[in-house]
């Protein structure tokens, strides 16, 4: 009996080793979401605040999609949908292109998501989850790159660069109202990588903005009283 068992097991092994058919490269195309064209890692959520863009009533968020597969001459449709179960924004808060596609000859393409400013954004953040779906043309790429969350608001918060040093030497005590004015005066919201001299120069521009405005009758106040820069700023 023993030889029969051995023959049977070997037969199973042999049949188990039958060759899989392997697709040629480019036979199938995959699509996935990225934060930058060179990214290969999981897509990260996007945060946006209208507070950093004074005067804007709507703004465009570029959502990047990336191809695995062969480039083609023709545009190809992508299925990108709003996942209602994970979205708090109303349809009136945003706008996607009527047709979403990967343009010919492009391995990375941009889908314009237009965000609309509203009063609701001053008090709360809204979220949109955009999710890719497989279609006849594209299969889905890595699981971690199949959807992206875009959170947006018109809210502002103390940034990390507004340290105690910046407070003492340049901008004094933080308030949301002061930060908004600072952005309006200087056109920048982020001083993270700036030198001390550059931070000082922006603080001087802000100081003069306040003084110039006050001379024209503007009132700048926050919960701390008059909005001013640090008395140590010279």
């Amino acid at each position: 009996m023993k030889p029969l068992y051995i023959i049977a097991i070997l037969s199973c092994w042999l049949t188990a080793c039958s060759k899989d058919a392997i697709d040629q490269y480019g036979d199938r195309s995959f699509i996935y979401l990225v934060n930058a064209g060179t990214d290969t890692s999981a897509v990260k959520p996007i945060e946006y605040s209208f507070a950093f863009h004074p005067g804007e009533e709507k703004d465009t968020i570029p959502v990047l999609v990336k191809l695995i597969g062969k480039l083609t001459d023709q545009d190809r449709a992508i299925s990108l949908v709003v996942d209602a179960s994970a979205t708090t924004a109303l349809a009136s808060d945003y706008q996607l292109p009527a047709t979403i596609r990967l343009r010919g000859h492009k391995a990375v393409d941009t889908i314009d998501l237009i965000l609309h400013k509203s009063d609701r954004l001053k008090t709360g953040k809204l979220k949109i989850r955009l999710a890719l779906q497989a279609n006849d043309i594209f299969q889905l790429g890595p699981p971690a790159n199949r959807y992206i969350d875009i959170t947006f608001s018109d809210m502002i918060a103390r940034p990390g660069w507004w340290t105690s040093v910046v407070e003492t030497n340049f901008l004094a005590k933080y308030s949301d109202a002061k930060y908004r004015l600072f952005i309006e005066a200087t056109g920048i919201a982020d001083m993270t990588d700036l030198s001390e001299s550059e931070q000082r120069a922006y603080a001087i521009i802000f100081r003069d903005f306040l003084a110039r405005g006050r001379e024209n009758g503007e009132v700048y106040e926050d919960e701390n009283g008059q909005i001013n820069v640090s008395p140590n700023l010279f």
Partner: protein, 509 residues
């Protein structure tokens, strides 16, 4: 056995006794004469780089003082620079620029040919760079700005040096040359040369030693972006701060991150806010020590002070008894401010002569500006009319910064005469006459290591000639001694001129 020991002891004693036998002292000795080597200017000399050393040291030998050049039979001479042999012979004839090392040490090795005795002495050479001190003239010719250097001793002209050295043109709009010292770089460092250009390309800074370009001040604006419609009209350095004035009347102020560097820190690229819509027409640098800049709003007729804390503040008179009627008020001028001459005084407090013109007559007012951090007040001394019949709309003024009493100005027919105005006596007198209109006057009140060398004036004429005039007491007393040198520069019409004082300590004295 005992006898053997005894005999041995006796033999040893005998040997010892013979070894102590006295010498007769009949050797022949030569006296060794020490030689002291003396250098004429001591152990430290400061020739100019362009000079050639010609050193014939003195030797004190056998009680006599002789020149090395007369002792070649007795001694051999070898010269070293930083231990490398550079010459043999009693006199060192050697070009300074060929010496090696930053502060070369020259050593003379002297060998007595008779007894081979060797003597050494040395001097340190601290060479003065070719362009450390001298006159600098900015001229305009054929739509070109040309900058030339004039040696203060030989009057040798290095013409158009910026274009020669950099291979670039200054452009047609250079308006001023001035010396710029770094507050934290030490007083033994030379001041750099700043060229103010009323041009979108901005100002240039040249190295104080070799006059090579080192900075473009446009690169020191926030984000490397100059303000809109920006063309400099002046730049002023005050210890830790500097101020840029543009031809729209705006001021930009920056703090130097490291004041050991001549350019550090960034200017904001938006104009500084000055209350009341103030715009400045002109600025005059105060002295280095004062840390002040005088700014003038012609439209409002007001005087302002830029401080070395980056502030620009209006200047008002000290409160007290009324300013005499008829005085030109610095906070409500009814005449045009045409010149400000600074006196070298202290930090935060410095005096100025303000020259006003009503179109016909000129007036000079002396004030002392006191920077009180958040306010600036001025002590009023006096105001008096001057230059009646001599000063005119083309007059150029030059107050001596270290001698309060003297202010020179041009005037007379065709603006071809230089006058000396003495504040104390309120008296004008003709100092020198030229054959072409005066365009620039600058002064050198120079002291090197506390020694007054040559106070002089340079007068630049429209025809391109430059005159160096003496202003020391004997030269003031005797008109025949006033002309030191006439230089036919021939590089166009002078626009601005200065004396480059060199080391920082020169302008502190």
């Amino acid at each position: 056995m005992k006898k053997i020991s005894l005999y041995s002891l006796i033999s040893l004693l005998f040997l010892l006794a013979t070894s102590c036998y006295k010498g007769k002292g009949n050797y022949s000795y030569d006296e060794l004469n020490k030689v002291t080597i003396l250098f004429k200017d001591g152990a430290f000399i400061s020739p100019r780089v362009s000079d050639t050393l010609n050193i014939d040291p003195k030797l004190i030998y056998k009680g006599d003082t002789i020149l090395a050049s007369t002792a070649t039979e007795t001694f051999s001479f070898t010269w070293y620079c930083n231990d490398k042999q550079i010459a043999t012979g009693p006199i060192l004839h050697y070009a300074v620029r060929d010496l090696t090392g930053i502060r070369p040490y020259l050593k003379l090795k002297l060998v007595n040919k008779k007894d081979e005795s060797v003597f050494l002495a040395g001097i340190t050479v601290d060479a003065i760079p070719a362009y450390l001190t001298g006159w600098v003239v900015l001229t305009k010719k054929d739509n070109r700005s040309i900058i030339s250097f004039i040696d203060p001793l030989t009057y040798e002209v290095t013409a158009d040096f910026y274009t020669t050295m950099s291979g670039e043109e200054l452009g047609p709009h250079a308006i001023e040359v001035k010396e710029h010292w770094m507050a934290g770089a030490g007083l033994s460092n030379p001041g750099n040369l700043l060229i103010v250009r009323n041009d979108a390309a901005g100002n240039l800074e040249l190295d104080g030693n070799d006059l090579k370009p080192i900075y473009k001040t446009n690169n020191f604006f926030l984000g490397n972006a100059t303000p809109d419609d920006f063309r400099p009209a002046g730049e002023f350095y005050m210890w830790d701060y500097s101020m840029m004035l543009d031809d729209n009347g705006n001021i930009y102020t920056r703090k130097h991150v490291n004041n050991a560097f001549s350019q550090s820190g960034v200017y904001p690229n938006k104009p500084m806010f000055i209350p009341g819509g103030v715009k400045f027409d002109r600025g005059w640098a105060g002295t280095y020590l004062s840390g002040q800049t005088v700014l003038y709003d012609k439209t409002k007729g007001k005087l302002f002070l830029g401080s070395d804390r980056g502030l620009v503040l209006p200047v008002s008179y000290m409160p007290g008894p009324p300013i005499p009627p008829g005085t030109t008020l610095i906070d409500a001028m009814d005449k045009e401010l045409v010149y400000v001459g600074a006196l070298k005084q202290g930090r935060f407090t410095s005096s100025y002569y303000l020259v006003f013109s009503n179109g016909t007559n000129h007036f000079v007012q002396k004030i002392m500006a006191i920077d009180q951090f958040y306010t600036v007040q001025a002590v009023f001394f006096y105001e008096t009319g001057f230059g009646s019949g001599t000063a005119n709309a083309q007059s150029i003024f030059c107050q001596l910064p270290r001698i309060d009493n003297y202010m020179f100005y041009s005037g007379g027919s065709g603006n071809k005469t230089l006058y000396l105005y003495e504040h104390g006596a309120a008296r004008s007198s003709e100092y020198y006459s030229f054959d072409s209109p005066v365009k620039t006057i600058s002064v050198n009140q120079n002291m090197v290591m506390g020694v007054q060398t040559h106070d002089q004036l340079m007068v630049g004429l429209e025809n391109g000639d430059v005159y160096i005039l003496g202003v020391l007491s004997d030269e003031m007393a005797d008109p025949a001694k006033r002309l030191k040198k006439k230089i036919v520069l021939d590089k166009g019409v002078p626009v601005s001129s200065m004396y480059k004082m060199g080391f920082g300590f020169n302008q502190m004295m």
